[in-house]
Amino acid sequence: MARERNISRLGVLGIVGCVLIGLLSVRVWFLQAIDAPGLEVKVREVRTRTIKINPERGRIFDRKGRIVADNERVLTLTIERAVIAKPLARQQMWNRLSGALNMTVTQLEDRWASKRYDQLQPLPLKEDISEDLAVYIRERSEDYPGVDVREEWRREYPFAPVASHVVGFLGAIPAGEKSENYYRTLGYDPDARVGQFGVEQTYESVLRGTPGYVKYEVDSRGRFLRQLERKEPIPGNDVQLTIDLEMQQFTEQALQQQIMMRRRTEAPTVLSFGEPDPRYPEVTYYKAPAGSSVLMNHDTGEVIAMASYPNFDNRWFNAGISSEKFGQLFPTTDDPDMSILVNRAISGRYNLGSTFKPFVAFAALNTGQLPGGTKYVLRDQGTYKLESIPEERCQLNVKCVFKNANCGNGAPCKYGRVNIETALAVSSDVFFYKIGEQIFTERGNRPVLEEQVRLFGFGSPTEIDLPYEYIGTVPSRALKQRLAASGAIAEEEGKGYYVGDNVQFAIGQGLLSASPLQLAVAYATFANGGKVLRPRVVKAIWAPGTPNGASNRVNLDEGLVIQDFGAPQVVRDLAIPPEILDPIVRGLTRVITGPGVRSDFYHATTGEKLFRSFPKRALPLAGKTGTAQGAGNLPWNDSSAFAAFSKNKKYPFTASTYIEKSGFGSRSAAPVVKCLFTALIGRIQVAPAVPSDPLDPNSFEVAQPQSLPNPLCLVGTGSSVRD
């Protein structure tokens, strides 16, 4: 064999070899020396899987320890997302799971596609599975790789629908970038359920607790190799309400029953020249769509009961119902009468009618508006003609004459000589019209009345620890401008603030609006001698895990209070001197007890007949009815208001009730308040609070109807005067 070879060509090959090996070496060195630190972090990330452990949410119980919001442990089936990342693997997994879970493949696929669930956490496939199913799946982990059972908590409301407006409910994080970001920064999962109403919302941060986690080392298929770290969750704090659940239930029953009764009551016929007005139906029943009631302790500001109707069962929010069903139960509506998810006791925006008069009386006395103060006497002839408007303008288009309410005979009541006490007792509009005019005109058109009534908290938030509180409005030039700008009143009307506005204001009509809670807080101010209190529905915050006691209660003796809100929070102390307070309280007392005045005939006070059978000696009351005119000033659009407080130091309670479109204050709202006070002194049976029946998911009732076991306290003769 010859030895003809190209050694140089072999050299080329050798050089190529050196270059390639060198290239590899440089690249390896580069990877390990330069890229390594950054990649090390990434490797640690993909190798560990952190699973959040949600804490048990704090419980909510009433002032006597009855558990109104509890937690039930539920099992949720989850699957590692990595296991089902590939469509084929996912399809096979769904096919295997759909039988066991009793879900269709489409439902499972929808879950997978949904953005509601945290993309970094295992996907929840089915909530509230049975223990048996959990065991079945766990025993067959080879067939169901990545499928796991997670323990979670479900909120239970054992006494629902009682107090559901106060307790609230949990819901998904509200849509919208702002709220989503807010909850994300607080560390919530996108599918977390957060407090959306009531105490569940305001005390979300207290109730929530701190999530824990387990950190696992995982392999490429997401299977757990070993546990690295575990941090137990810290349960949320418990919350004790100031609400007494039995009183709450009683209040709701009384309110609801009264509303039902008013719906079966005929409104007065509209007369035109003594005949029924042909424009209206002869018989109209009150619509009485809604109402609310507040019972509070006027020494501490604690709310004992707070009812709002229409009410709802807060268990619907975690009943897992479809959105169509939810839409049927809670229809979206523009009709304010229909809205359910509104706590009217704090969000209602109402004319107060004559219930507002005591504050005008205070303004008059406090500013020295009445010559001689309590000794000042006015002759009430049933009508009041504005004195500050020249006669010729009255002839044109300015309303100068204001009337009292009609006295049965079709003519305005004439109460004769009235002082401030009597004016309150018989609710003389004329007396207050005069105050309304003169407090304005004689003080250079300055907003004196506005400033005075604002002292009682009208027009500003009560700062109750519940969401969606309505601040209320007090008539003023600025308010009119604002309303005109927003189109609520005519632009022409918003131009200025006139005498007529102040006159309407003085009898609680016109642009004055307040919530029933504001009314109660303001009356409480008279009851306690001038302290405007901040109302509260939460009494104390307790350390997590208050032990259970007997009969659906926690054992308060073994719990630990972390924060006590028991001390009254005084927003403002008016320190009303007796010479101002006493005549007002006397006038309000006469509303309940009489006597009225004799002028032509005996004019009873508005509450006199109703409270005739009430044990006034045991529980002396002072209160005031009110009838707010509604659309077209038609009788069936009258809304009924009543507020009263106890003068017995042993029972430091103030109550207010407002029932929409249900007639005179003394006929609709006052009987409810009367019932509350009757119950407070134990003169009528209060049904014990017992856990309600399980929610029937097929039902179409938003809440189980409630009624008083003994409705006798609602019975009584109302006044025939619209005040």
Partner: protein, 390 residues
């Protein structure tokens, strides 16, 4: 055939002097042997560490694959000894026959081969699979080297160049349409190396290389190249891609790179590599075996493996220079290119400088066919070495 193979004994022509300095058994290149042996031992350890977590997950014996590999290595050693024993010149006499058999096997694999990952690459023989393309590497090299060595000239004439192209083109096409572009590229690289050393005109080589590239592009455009082959190239060009279709490919390389990278200087220690233990890297015992080296033994381990390849290539280079005839010379050059190209391609894809191609790392990766094929190649090289004094 057996008769002709054994007519010329290795010690024939030496009279009755036994075990002279020229006795082939005394002139084995032990440095080459040790380097290859070391790579094989490292390979066995890596195969164990890379397959253990998956086997444990399945509840199987963690030694399953390493045991098989040891059996392959024993078989490979036996085959190598036989090849060493035979004279490569004798083998050249049977090259056409072996080549023809290979082509038959490559065709048969289309009919009887088992499908894995979208390609028909191997015959399924119970627990083992025989991959004819690996056998083809040796037989094609043998025929090509023999064919070129027949003409005793310092250059390759044009007709012979074209003829040798046909020799190589047949198996390349058959392998490429399996499809296994990685192996096909090894054939081409090997042929280029042999032709280069044989003295072919550099222009021919450049021409034919461009032709190969053009045909690959044409294959892609015409759809002959399967989608996943194409993705390997696009995945290589976009290593940080988020595209869903490239995802599995890109993450595969990404994890392999991370494994090498996070090994650091001394590595995480044997059986302590988190990505290896977590089975994060697909086909780690075959295609990505270098990532196991990098993660567990770090830069030191990687340097040792690269160094051993350097030693292997250096020894083959040296043997090529010492060879007594053109055939031995070409064979060595072919084996040199083949090992170089395959090692470069395999390690390169692990560390992200070449596209993913599925070629095993010589001597290290798990797999019977390629272990035996490379043993045969080393056997041939040793055979050349042993007979250098002839």
């Amino acid at each position: 055939m057996a008769r002709t193979i054994f007519t010329r004994r290795p010690d024939s022509g030496l009279g009755n002097i036994r075990r002279s300095f020229a006795d082939p058994t005394r002139t084995i290149d032990w440095i080459l042997m040790s380097a290859v042996g070391a790579l094989t031992v490292i390979g066995a350890f890596m195969i164990y560490s890379a397959t253990r977590p998956r086997l444990l997950n399945r509840g199987a014996d963690p030694y399953l694959f390493v045991q098989r590999q040891i059996i392959f290595v024993i078989l490979a050693i036996l085959v190598m000894i036989v090849v060493m024993w035979l004279d490569y010149v004798q083998l050249r006499g049977n090259a056409e026959l072996l080549y023809a058999a290979t082509i038959v096997l490559l065709v048969l694999v289309f009919v009887a081969g088992s499908v894995r990952g979208g390609a028909r690459l191997s015959f399924d023989l119970g627990p083992f699979a025989v991959q004819p393309s690996e056998i083809g590497k040796v037989t094609t090299l043998l025929l090509l080297a023999g064919f070129l060595a027949d003409d005793d000239s310092k250059t390759v004439r044009y007709e012979r160049f074209i003829q040798s192209l046909f020799i190589i083109a047949l198996p390349v096409v058959l392998v490429a349409i399996q499809p296994d572009l990685g192996s096909a590229s090894v054939f081409v690289a090997c042929a280029m190396g042999v032709l280069l050393v044989a003295g072919a005109d550099i222009r021919y080589i450049i021409l034919i290389t461009s032709l190969a590239i053009v045909s690959v592009v044409a294959g892609v455009v015409s759809g002959l190249v399967k989608d996943y082959q194409l993705r390997r190239i696009t995945g290589f060009l976009n290593q940080n891609s988020d595209s869903a279709t490239l995802q599995s490919l890109v993450t595969q390389v990404r994890f392999a790179k991370r494994a090498v990278s996070t090994g650091g200087f001394f590595g995480k220690g044997y059986l302590n590599g988190p990505l290896t233990n977590g089975a994060f890297i697909p086909v780690q015992s075959t295609d990505f075996v270098f990532s196991a080296v990098g993660e567990q033994f770090g830069m030191v381990g990687a340097a040792v493996v690269l160094g051993l390849f350097g030693v292997v290539l250096w020894r083959i280079y040296r043997i090529a220079r010492m060879s007594q005839d053109r055939l031995g010379y070409f064979l060595c050059a072919g084996v040199f290119t083949m090992i170089l190209w395959q090692a470069f391609q395999n390690i390169g894809m692990t560390i992200g400088i070449t596209p993913v191609s599925g070629v095993p790392l010589p001597f290290v990766s798990y797999g019977g066919s390629h272990t035996i094929a490379f043993a045969v190649m080393i056997g041939l090289v040793q055979s050349v070495h042993m007979r250098r004094f002839r």
